[in-house]
Symmetry: C2
Subunit: 143 residues, 2 copies
């Protein structure tokens, strides 16, 4: 089986007033030019679920709602999954040195950040995107 290693490159920091991505100083050089983008894709680790039981879950009722149909975890964004990768697209409010001030992120405080990617999209590709009705309803926020 192929196994790969991930290193945390920063942390999600949030309190009642402000939400930020704090990149560790040794990776700060990797932020050059990010301020020219409106949005950033944040990949983080669902660190609270890093136990075999949670990584073995393959199907859930999305958003902890038993009224939503039983769904494979590759068809939803459940925080229980074989590889505990969370993905959020965040609006960039400002970047100062190694701190990115964002609008909001659906992740716990202190979640390890594993990658950032500028939000680049060819909207054409996603024209006519569709999804089941459970996925179109507003999502309850994760604390």
């Amino acid at each position: 089986m192929d196994i790969f290693q991930l290193f945390a490159v920063g942390k999600v920091k949030k309190d009642s007033e402000i939400e930020t991505i704090e990149i560790y100083e040794e990776y700060a050089d990797a932020l050059l030019g990010l301020d020219q983008f409106s949005h950033v894709i944040v990949l983080y680790w669902f660190h609270k679920n890093d136990i075999p039981e949670k990584r073995g879950v393959l199907r859930v009722h999305p958003r902890h709602n038993m009224n939503n149909p039983l769904t494979g975890i590759f068809a939803c964004h459940s925080p229980c999954r074989p590889n505990l990768i969370g993905l959020s697209v965040c609006k960039i409010l400002s970047i100062k040195a190694n701190i990115i001030h964002i609008d909001s992120i659906d992740a716990f405080n202190d979640s390890p950040v594993i990658d950032l990617k500028s939000y680049i999209t060819s909207m054409d590709k996603m024209k006519g995107a569709f999804m089941p009705s459970w996925a179109t309803r507003p999502r309850p926020s994760r604390p």
Copy 2:
């Protein structure tokens, strides 16, 4: 330093005619309901770059084009980065058992797949997205 382990859950398979995501059979149950979505987010591993030299790169000229400005790897999608995660949004053409037939993916044949997420978006969030000019030009395809 926080270190996490990733396991391959499948592979990218492509030849001159067809491009697919082949999910390993032990994870096939996790695909339930994905066929109700038009698009899937594929996270894969840039396995050819899994050496310290490539994982230590923090700035590049995007798309191997020296005319593009020197840019932090968190501001682009370079396959050299501390955590070698590639991200593509793919159109789903069909799903049969553990094989997802997609339109195309910007990844090498045999790239390990590490996660799939259904493409769920609130387009509102990305309204008014902007990016620098290098990012708006068509991207040369990766073989």
